[in-house]
Symmetry: C2
Subunit: 208 residues, 2 copies
């Protein structure tokens, strides 16, 4: 199926990835709308004009970063929501999973939080579309749960969005607490768990 790339294509992809990595690093201290093309090429160690061989603009690069940051996350979300076990057990596991993901991919998380409402329209749209996909997937998993009996589609999607937004809020909190002492990070963990718990309580009494 997958044809082995020639030396040429392989080198091109390698450079492209170097662009993405360099940009992500530079974006820890600024927004995409202020990221300069020359700034990125300088960080990669390549001529400014080389940029155009891979991206039309920095906005284009941003959209590629959205795919890198969120594209591979769908399986994880799907299984997290659907995993069997008691509801308390699932809450703890979900928060731990977010915490772990922030630890291993802080720059990706920062990028998404920053550019979700950022100044570059195509990037906002790309993030919005990915989050909509997450919501649809969460909804599909929720629908499988016996607890979903009697729920209409609109309410399921409403709940799914609530979960997705809460996921992002939690990730952002972990990110802010990243350099903080362990006790602060533990405080965030407990807060996130209780918020998720409250939503879950609301869910289980929704039909009353």
């Amino acid at each position: 199926m997958s044809h082995t790339l020639g030396i040429r294509q392989a080198q091109k992809q390698k450079t492209r990835q170097a662009f993405l990595d360099a940009a992500l690093a530079l974006l820890e201290e600024q927004s995409l709308s202020s990221l300069g093309l020359r700034e990125v090429t300088r960080a990669v160690g390549v001529a400014p004009t080389a940029f155009y061989r891979h991206f039309r603009s920095t906005a284009d690069l941003g959209v590629a970063l959205v795919d890198e940051a969120l594209g591979s996350l769908h399986p994880m979300v799907r299984t997290t929501v659907s995993t069997a076990g008691g509801s308390e057990e699932r809450i703890v596991r979900a928060i731990d999973l977010i915490s772990h993901h922030v630890d291993t991919h802080p720059a990706h998380v920062r990028f998404i939080a920053r550019e979700r409402h950022g100044g570059v329209q195509p990037v906002r749209e790309a993030i919005r579309a990915q989050l909509e996909r997450f919501a649809e997937e969460v909804k599909a998993e929720l629908a499988k749960d016996p607890q979903a009996a009697g729920w209409n589609d609109d309410d399921l999607l409403m709940l799914a969005h609530l979960y997705v937004d809460q996921m992002l809020i939690t990730a952002s909190l972990f990110l802010e607490a990243q350099e903080a002492p362990a006790e602060e990070r533990q405080r965030v963990t407990r807060l996130a768990r209780r918020q998720l718990r409250l939503i879950t309580v609301g869910r289980s009494h929704w039909l009353d």
Copy 2:
């Protein structure tokens, strides 16, 4: 109490406000970290150097914008949460209030949503501090409610943060739907109401 300003101070404040207004307008299509000092002075119609008479940097201007956007909002939040009436009635009124505020101050709302996780640290910190104040105020109002009997302080603050974050999410949704047809805006209204309802249901069964 308030001493009438001299011609000089009055003119200075006028120019300062012109800076804030011009910046806010420019920030509808970009982030603060890419806002240039000359760009702002050009929009105001004043020499670049005049900027330094009012702000040290664009970050400084950003912090001033945070105060303008959120500083005067505290009374509104306070009364909204505390207003008497049935819970369903209060939910409808809260969402309507947010919707109205987004209609009347779209640029302010956009600015806060954009810079909350934006690339300028002092501005992020200023927004964080204001939102923390909101949460404390909401918590204080919640504590007055008879429903809060048996709640500990941590859980009250947890719920207050949930409300504040939800308020921002809703405002952002209204903003995105601003140019959309009326039916889309109505859809957002209903979604926001139901999410608030679900949180309220969770709240009323929290102690079970």
